[in-house]
Every structure is written in structure tokens, then in C-alpha cells.
């Protein structure tokens, strides 16, 4: 399953770091962060709990870039 979220982040490299952090989160199959459109699209593993996974994603993103937001 694939879902798109609006995000907020200030720098392009931070967006790349968020992408990397999201990809490494359990339950996420693949993810892309588009800095220009401020959107994140996440593909989840089959059977993953979307809400819980996204909470973890946000936590992991905050770790690599404190100044970021994902609008869940």
C-alpha cells in the first residue's frame, strides 16, 4: 500500500536524510521525499500497521532532523 503525506522541512539535504530514515523504519518498504513539493510518499510492507509505522517514521525523522514535520 502506498500513501502520500505532506511534510515540512527547511533544507534539501535534511529531506534526503528524512527519506533515508523513513526507508530504514520497520514496516516501510520504500519511501521518497520530494523536497520541492514537500511531499513524502511511503510504500508500506504488506500487513504493516500504517498508523503505528508512521508514528515511528516521524520519530526517526525527528532524530535525524529535529526541525521537520510530517502531517499525519
Amino acid at each position: 500500500m502506498k500513501k502520500t503525506y505532506k511534510i515540512d522541512v527547511d533544507c534539501a539535504n535534511c529531506a534526503n536524510k528524512m527519506e533515508q530514515a523513513t526507508k530504514e523504519t520497520a514496516g516501510v518498504k520504500d519511501a521518497t521525499v520530494n523536497f520541492m513539493t514537500l511531499k513524502m510518499s511511503v510504500e508500506f510492507e504488506d500487513g504493516a500497521d500504517v498508523d503505528a509505522t508512521m508514528k515511528q517514521v516521524l520519530k526517526n525523522c525527528k532524530k535525524v532532523e529535529d526541525d521537520c514535520e510530517i502531517f499525519l
Binding site: N13, N34, T37, D66
Partner: protein, 624 residues
């Protein structure tokens, strides 16, 4: 500028004024440090705070952390002015970047500002504004002058001219009359129109386009992937070499019994840290693609993602479908030959048998029949059977009618007569007897010849035309246009095979584009390296299958799209080489002590500003 940016701007001005004022205050020692700490903290407190947080989260190669180390280090070495300046210029760079990015974001979203906010419905004689999502198919909506058409439909009352420039880049308005189809997203310029909707809002052209634009670039280009990989390696590599630069040379000097010169080497190491920030690269590449995609959409060329812009720039072979791409696809009946019955009767059979098909040829038969004063009665038609690539058989007024090409006649065991004129020949058989053929001709599009010349100018080596039409028709069109490779009489499946064959012939780095009008060629569109759908307004299948959608049906847009892609990729490479080049040179100069902190600041902020300005050039595509 938004609030955040304004705040940073004020901090920049304050600390810049302070730093200049400090030049004239003759103090030394700790007092001087104390005074310089004021502008330093004004400009850099948030960076220092983020750096601390980064350390807590074990993010060592975080830009804030690097900037903090570099500036604190410079201050510790007594280079107060440099320390503050690095922070100051870093913030100026960040501000410029966020302003430029924000501005191009807004520019491009304005460009695609085609979302209708409401639809007008007449209720009890009064107009009422409703959410377009709530309008059911078949509702009569009213569009006043100056308003956007919210939903696809057919004009029932009123006439006007429609401005389609937001959709197609075409500035000449289109006039519409009752009976004409209109697509959502156009702006009504003159009269009031009453439109019967034919789709739901979600399925309307405008929604499809917005969906496409908003989901564009979820697939990243290879250059973008390269840059994010590069950034992940580059920053740590530079940091480790900075560490090595600070430690090894002094250590070696000590071992050799010379003066260690620690502060010189630490200063050089700090310049490394300033250069280590990958910002210029990381921002300029996606920004270039974004600007390129935005510029293209202004011209009515929708690109589904940066990866397609990249592929398009490498296209060397362009394969077209003839009908609807190079020719108008609006067929007209130009002759009826060898018919044993009156022409009108033959048209009656052909038009009725084909009445259920939306193929342009079928429509032209119906038009000719109606133009001749006939009134179609679909109640007469039953047992319609379509034979792909051959034609149709049906029962019309109790007679078994077959309408199609030579192959269909051959299947029925009938000898058909060839036609000596150029055009599409539709053979008709009634009750197992050959009734002659109808000649239908298609006009070559205006600009089709220029389109081919333009493609060759854009560096396309091979243009190939595929068509289901007869050899003679195909050859005559090809001759007019100047295309040498033509494959005619192809069934829809053959087109895929042909494209596969062409794909296997070309070099690995040379891409093949297929251009079709979206009718029956979705499989080919998705099979080619890059699929371009043309005149796609209203054709969902094409919008879905294609990678690039040309909103109107001007074939010259094909070379334009390729030129835009080439320009965009050229800028991407310029930025990659320029940014990496300058950074490497500055690193080298910094290591041997020629480049000081100021050069490092240029390598960081200056390069980023130049790269961003260069990236925005990709938006300017009007005169390509």
C-alpha cells in the same frame, strides 16, 4: 518572505552591522572575544542549539554540527571575524535558498492553478454554488464568463470562446457551440454556457491533471539519486580528511623534530569543514528538475517525474503512430466506389454497423450518413461483433453486414477491390456479397512537417512511423513529412512487436520514445523507454499509460519537450560539475594553505547561490 525568513533577515542585518562596527573598536584580548560573541550568538544561536541536539541524536555529520565546530574552532584560534563571518554567510545562503525555493514553489503552483473551487447549478431559477465533487453525471451546470469549467461535459446552451492556455499553453481561444465537448480547466471568456456534465469531478480532466502534477517526481531521476548518494559519502569523507589534516601534519612535524604549527593546520582543517556542506548540490539538482517540469507544464507538456525528463533528454529514436499524431485523425468520407446499390444505401449499412464504435473512422461514416440527410436508428442494429484490426460485423435491418479492411473480406471469403486513391479504404459486404468500398481520407496536421524537422534539429537520429493503415497511405504521408522508416498495415499487437524490435536495435544509452494519441496504443506507450501521449485531454487511458502528456495535439510539442528536457539535464550537469569542481579545488587549495576561510565561504554559499540561480533557468523554456 514568510515570518521565519524575515526573522533571519533581521538577525543577518543586525549581526552584519555589529561586525562592521566592531572593526572600529580598538579592543584586544578577552574583551574583543566577548564583543564578537554578541553578533556570533545573534546570528548563530539556533545553529548551535540544533548542533547540540544533533550530538544528542548522534548525528555527527549534520550541517549545523559542522558549522558549529568550524566557527567555534575559528573563534578559539583567535580568528573572531572569520568565525562570525562563516556563520553569517551560512545563514545568508540558507535564507537565499529558502527564499528561492519558496518562490519557485509558488511560481509553479500558480502555473497549475486550474483547480475549480465550485460549480454553479440552477435550482428553482436561482444559481447555487456547490462543491464540484457533489455534482452527478448528467447535471446541467452553468459557467459564467471569467469562470473555469469545473467538470467535463457537453455544451447544451450558449456559445462562447474558451481559454485553454492553462491546460495547453495555446493562447488562441477555442470557440464552442451547443453540442461541443468541453473539458474542465478551461476558462470561459465570453458568454454564459450551460453544460451537461459527462463525468464526475474526480474523473474530469482537471482532476486527472492535478493528480498527475501533484504526484510527479515520486520517481526520482538517476542524477538525483546520485547526488543524494554522493552527499552521504562526501560530507563524512571531507570531515575525516579535516580531522586527518588537523592531526597528521603536526604529528609528522613533531616526529621530524620541527615546529608542529598546530594552529595553522587546525585552521586549514576548519576551512575543510566549511566546504563540507553538500547544500549547493543537494538543493540545485531537484530544483532544476522542478523548474524544468514547471516550465514544461506552462507549455502544455506534463511530465510525470524527473526521471522521465532525464530519459527524454537521451531520446535518439522517436516512433510515431500516424493517426492522431501526424494526421488530424478527423476522417472524412471522400468517395464511394464499386457499389451495386445507391451510395446512400451503402453508407446506411456501413454507418449503422460501425455506430457503436468510437473509432474516428466509424464516426466519419456516421457523419457522412447524417450529412447526406440520413437519420441513424440504432434499433436496427444487433449482434455487433468487433474483430480487432479487421473491422466489424453486425446485423443491420435484418441483413448481415461486414465493414472492415481487406483481411476481413478475405476471412469472409470475398474478393475485394483495391482503391487507387490515397486514404483508408473501408470495404463493405452485405449478406455475403461484396458491395464495394468507401474511401476515407485523413488530413496531415499543420506543423507536422516542422515537427519532423524540429526533431532532427533536436538531435533525433531516427524517426519511425507506425500505422495500421495501408502501405500507400502510409507512404504518401511519410513522403510529405520526410520520414524514411515506415511500417504500415500493423495490428495493435504488431505495434508492440515493432517497438520491441526497434528497442533491441538501439544502443544502451539511446532512448526510444513512442508518441501516440492514446487510442488503442496504451500497451505501446508503456513498452517504450518513454511514452508520450498526445492531445490527451479527456483520454484517461493515455494519461495513465504515458510518461509525458502533451495537452494539445500539436506535433511540434514533441521536439519542444525534448529540447526542454535537454536544457534541464544540461543545467543539472553544469551544476553537478560546477559545484563538485569548485568544492574540490577549494579543498585542495585549503589543504596547502592558499585558500583561507573566505574562499571556503565562497565554496559553500557562493556556489550554492550560483547553482540555485542556474537551476531556475530551467523554468525559461518559452523560446526553445
Amino acid at each position: 518572505m514568510n515570518k521565519k525568513q524575515k526573522k533571519v533577515l533581521i538577525r543577518i542585518i543586525v549581526s552584519a552591522v555589529l561586525i562592521i562596527a566592531l572593526q572600529f573598536i580598538p579592543v584586544t584580548g578577552y574583551l574583543q572575544l566577548l564583543l564578537y560573541l554578541v553578533p556570533y550568538l545573534v546570528i548563530g544561536y539556533d545553529i548551535l542549539r540544533k548542533a547540540l541536539k544533533g550530538i544528542l541524536n548522534r548525528q555527527v555529520f549534520d550541517e549545523n554540527f559542522l558549522m558549529a565546530i568550524a566557527t567555534v574552532g575559528a573563534m578559539a584560534l583567535g580568528e573572531y571575524r572569520e568565525g562570525v563571518a562563516v556563520m553569517l554567510f551560512y545563514q545568508i545562503g540558507e535564507l537565499f535558498q529558502s527564499y528561492a525555493v519558496g518562490k519557485s514553489r509558488r511560481n509553479i503552483s500558480d502555473l497549475m492553478d486550474i483547480r475549480p473551487d465550485y460549480a454553479n447549478i440552477e435550482r428553482d431559477g436561482k444559481l447555487e454554488q456547490v462543491d464540484p465533487d457533489e455534482v452527478a453525471i448528467g447535471t446541467l451546470i452553468v459557467v459564467s464568463p471569467g469562470e473555469k469549467v469545473p467538470i467535463d461535459g457537453i455544451v447544451r446552451e450558449g456559445s462562447s470562446s474558451l481559454n485553454t492556455s492553462a491546460l495547453t499553453g495555446e493562447s488562441v481561444p477555442r470557440s464552442v457551440r451547443p453540442g461541443d465537448e468541453v473539458i474542465s480547466g478551461c476558462i470561459n471568456e465570453k458568454g454564459v454556457l450551460k453544460i451537461e456534465t459527462t463525468r464526475e469531478f474526480g474523473e474530469s480532466t482537471v482532476s486527472k491533471i492535478l493528480e498527475l502534477v501533484e504526484n510527479a517526481s515520486s520517481r526520482k531521476s538517476r542524477s538525483e539519486a546520485f547526488i543524494s548518494k554522493f552527499a552521504r559519502v562526501y560530507t563524512p569523507a571531507v570531515c575525516y580528511s579535516a580531522l586527518a589534516l588537523a592531526v597528521l601534519p603536526p604529528l609528522i612535524s613533531l616526529l621530524l623534530g620541527q615546529d608542529a604549527n598546530v594552529s595553522t593546520w587546525v585552521y586549514r582543517a576548519l576551512t575543510f569543514l566549511v566546504i563540507s556542506c553538500p547544500c549547493a548540490l543537494v538543493i540545485s539538482i531537484p530544483l532544476t528538475f522542478f523548474a524544468g517540469i514547471g516550465g514544461a507544464s506552462k507549455e502544455g507538456i506534463l511530465v510525470k517525474g524527473s526521471v522521465f525528463l532525464e530519459t527524454l533528454s537521451q531520446v535518439k529514436t522517436v516512433v510515431f503512430d500516424k493517426t492522431g499524431t501526424m494526421t488530424k485523425g478527423t476522417f472524412e468520407v471522400v468517395g464511394i466506389h464499386h457499389s451495386p446499390v445507391p451510395e446512400k444505401e451503402l453508407l446506411f449499412y456501413a454507418a449503422h454497423a460501425e455506430a457503436h464504435s468510437s473509432h474516428p473512422i466509424s464516426k466519419s461514416l456516421l457523419r457522412a450518413f447524417e450529412g447526406d440527410g440520413g437519420v441513424p436508428d440504432l434499433g436496427n442494429v444487433s449482434q455487433v461483433e468487433e474483430i480487432s484490426g479487421e473491422g466489424v460485423t453486425a446485423m443491420v435491418s435484418g441483413k448481415k453486414v461486414a465493414v472492415g479492411n481487406k483481411r476481413l473480406m478475405a476471412r469472409l471469403g470475398l474478393a475485394s477491390m483495391d482503391c487507387h486513391e490515397i486514404g483508408t479504404v473501408v470495404h463493405v459486404a452485405v449478406d455475403g456479397e461484396y458491395y464495394g468500398h468507401i474511401l476515407i481520407a485523413d488530413e496531415i496536421k499543420e506543423g507536422a512537417k516542422d515537427a519532423i524537422t524540429g526533431l532532427h534539429k533536436a538531435g533525433i537520429r531516427k524517426c519511425v512511423m507506425l500505422t495500421g493503415d495501408r502501405e500507400e497511405t502510409a507512404q504518401s504521408v511519410a513522403q510529405v513529412l520526410g520520414i524514411s522508416d515506415v511500417y504500415a498495415q500493423l495490428l495493435p499487437g504488431d505495434k508492440v512487436d515493432k517497438v520491441e524490435e526497434l528497442l533491441s536495435q538501439k544502443g544502451k544509452k539511446e532512448m526510444l520514445a513512442f508518441v501516440g494519441d492514446g487510442i488503442n496504443d496504451a500497451p505501446v506507450l508503456s513498452r517504450a523507454d518513454i511514452g508520450i501521449a498526445m492531445g490527451a485531454m479527456g483520454s484517461d487511458a493515455a494519461i495513465e499509460a504515458a510518461d509525458i502528456v502533451l495537452m494539445d495535439d500539436d506535433p511540434r510539442k514533441i521536439s519542444k519537450a525534448i529540447l526542454i528536457a535537454q536544457k534541464c539535464i544540461r543545467i543539472v550537469y553544469e551544476n553537478i560539475y560546477f559545484a563538485i569542481g569548485v568544492k574540490l579545488i577549494c579543498l585542495l587549495l585549503g589543504a596547502i594553505g592558499i585558500a583561507n576561510m573566505w574562499v571556503a565561504i565562497f565554496a559553500d554559499v557562493g556556489v550554492m547561490v550560483i547553482a540555485v540561480i542556474n537551476a531556475i533557468r530551467a523554468l525559461m523554456v518559452k523560446n526553445l
